[in-house]
Each structure stands twice: as C-alpha cells, then as structure tokens.
C-alpha cells in the first residue's frame, strides 16, 4: 500500500506539472524557469513533439494519468492484478528510457536545460526506484 501511495503521489505531481506546461503552451506564455534561463528554448525546440501526433507535455500528461489509474486499480483490487502490474512496469521503464533520451537531447542537442522536463524525468526515475526497491512487480 505504501509503495502504491508513493507511486500515486509521484504520478499526481507529474500530472499537475504537465497540466501546467500544457496550459502555458496553449496560452503562448513562457513557463517559470528555476534552473538556467532556457526552459522556453527546450519547450519550443523541434524536439518538443517526439510523438508525431502530440506534444511531449500531452504525452507526459497521458502517461501520468495512466499510471494514476493503474495504481488506483491495484489499490481497489480490479482484476487481473498481474496485468496491471505488468503494464505499470512496462510503462514506467519505457518512461525511464524516454527520460534518459530527453536528458541527452537537452544536454547535447538543444544545449539548454528545462527545469520542468528534468523534474518530470526525476519523477519517473523515482517511480522506477520505488518499483525496484519494493519489488512491486512479482
């Protein structure tokens, strides 16, 4: 239960953060940038649409909504639990791989850092860590 609560909390934080980025983008406003000065450079770069159909912030939002729902299903006991666990594992570790790719893009390609992108990456790393430590995936 504790691991599920932590996973859910992280997913909810990610959900709020990506909702903020979506709103800023829709309003054509620059988001607050706590690290460096080039959040906008990253968010408006040509790499802001890794998935052809949607912006990264929308993809992130859907990811966090998905993890929240899966966690809720696990807590409520919606069957089959093994399927939801597997889905969570695949989703989070795919998220880790993608986060590493985004960090590489910021570091070597765009050459600018985006606070919100890094926060999202560390949120996903923390999720993976929880899964590994608590051995949620049996």
């Amino acid at each position: 239960m504790t691991a599920h609560a932590l996973l859910f909390t992280l997913a909810a934080i990610g959900l709020s953060e990506t909702a903020y980025l979506i709103r800023k983008r829709k309003a054509s406003q620059k988001p607050l940038c706590f690290i460096g000065e080039n959040c906008a450079a990253v968010l408006s770069s040509r790499h802001n649409k890794t998935f052809v159909l949607m912006h990264n912030d929308v993809a992130g939002f859907l990811f966090y909504v998905g993890i929240s729902i899966i966690t809720a299903f696990l807590v409520i006991g919606v069957p089959p639990a093994s399927f939801w666990l597997l889905l969570a594992k695949i989703g989070i570790f795919a998220g880790v791989a993608l986060s590493c790719f985004f960090i590489f893009l910021q570091w070597k390609v765009v050459r600018a850092w985006c606070f919100w992108c890094l926060m999202s990456s560390f949120t996903i790393f923390a999720m993976a860590l929880i899964i590994l430590i608590k051995n949620l995936i049996v």
Partner: protein
C-alpha cells in the same frame, strides 16, 4: 490575490489527498461508511454503500480538478462544502479531526482562486 508557489503546493497536496481518499473509499466503502453517524444513516435515501461510492467519485473529481488547476474556484468551494458535510455527518473524532486542516486549506485555495475565476 497573487497565486504564488505556496498556493500551488497547497493545491497539489490537497488534490492528491482528495483523489487518494477517493480511491481508498472505492476500495472499501463499507469501512469508510463506518464513520457516518447513525442518525445520518437513517436519513439516507440510498444504501450507505452507494452513498460512499458516490462520495468516492466526488472526491476523485474534486482532486483531479485541483491537480490540473482548472476551475479551482468551483472545485475548491465544492471540496470545502463536502468536507464541512463530512465533519457534520461523521462528527469530530480522532480520525476526522484532520479534515479541519483540509477544510482550512480548501478555503484558502478557494479564496485565492476566486479572484481569477476564468480557469
């Protein structure tokens, strides 16, 4: 009133609490129904379990809107009303006393977001 970082921290924390409580009520509605005072149970038009499931859905919806920062002035207000109802119908016990803190937080969120009503 200006929406600063403290407002957003409070909004997200209360949002997480609401959604999580909603999930826990979905998990065991009968157990959470145990907090309802007997005099309230007699007044209910539906079985207590159904009322608790509806409460869980309301909690999840309020929490979601707080998390995504959309129509916070409406959902903060609804959340405050909801918590006031919870305090009345369950009484103030060692467990529910924490709702007083949540109620205060929701009133603060509603007051700040009321000034910028449009989303």
């Amino acid at each position: 009133m200006k929406k600063d970082a403290s407002y957003h921290i409070l909004r997200i924390a209360v949002g997480i609490t609401f959604v999580w409580i909603g999930i826990l009520i979905f998990q065991s509605p009968e157990a959470w129904g145990g907090f309802v005072e007997p005099w309230v149970e007699n007044l209910l038009p539906l079985p207590l379990k159904d009322i608790m499931l509806a409460t869980a859905a309301v909690d999840v919806v309020i929490g979601f809107f707080l998390l995504v920062d959309v129509y916070v002035w409406i959902f903060g207000f609804l959340g405050a009303l909801h918590l006031a109802t919870v305090l009345i119908t369950s009484g103030i016990t060692a467990v529910t006393v924490r709702d007083i803190g949540l109620l205060g937080g929701l009133i603060a969120i509603t007051l700040v977001s009321w000034k910028t009503k449009a989303r």
